[in-house]
Symmetry: C2
Subunit: 90 residues, 2 copies
Amino acid sequence: MHEGVFRALADPTRRRILELLKAGPMTAGEIAAHFPSRQPTISRHLGVLKQAGLVFDERQGQYVIYHLNATVLQSWLQWLWDRWGGDHNT
Amino acid sequence: MHEGVFRALADPTRRRILELLKAGPMTAGEIAAHFPSRQPTISRHLGVLKQAGLVFDERQGQYVIYHLNATVLQSWLQWLWDRWGGDHNT
DNA sequence: TTGAGGTTTAGCAAAAAGGCTATATAATGT
DNA sequence: ACATTATATAGCCTTTTTGCTAAACCTCAA
């Protein structure tokens, strides 16, 4: 169920992308500008994140805006915690 | 810092190994017996988990007993939650 | 010291992941 | 229709990961 999430998070660049998006939505181009990798490379990372459900995109004119999918991230974290977390009472 | 953990958890077999060890320590052989893969293959997975700090081993005679390292797992989870978790008040 | 059981290491082949360039697609403005 | 900007896809190459077999390494018992 959360397999894609684990795989997606395995890459440091993808984790940094999520960190970026935590601050708010961003176009693909803006995201790419934060990394040394080429635009198509980042585009593919975004694809992996999207397929994992960690982000979603929204086309706005010629731009594609990426959003963090906090819900999926949260539910994954919850699932993790349930399985491996210790005594967090709630 | 937690890079090894992310990489280690990316593989489903390794995650299942951790699940197994949650129930208690186990010898390498016992662990391997739970999987279709060959024993050397599992041995290498154990090596990856060990390097990530997620398990530690203890030789007992000819056996090598693997333990889950709950501490490392916990601190990784904590770190995750601090970064991406929502409003868990504590 | 030899033998057997348990585990790891080496070395290889196949598959997956990541990066790049070139090209395609989408929307915009002229 | 055409050029321009933004993004995605294709195709290629290199590196990493994974699984296997064969061989080495440890420990125990005889």
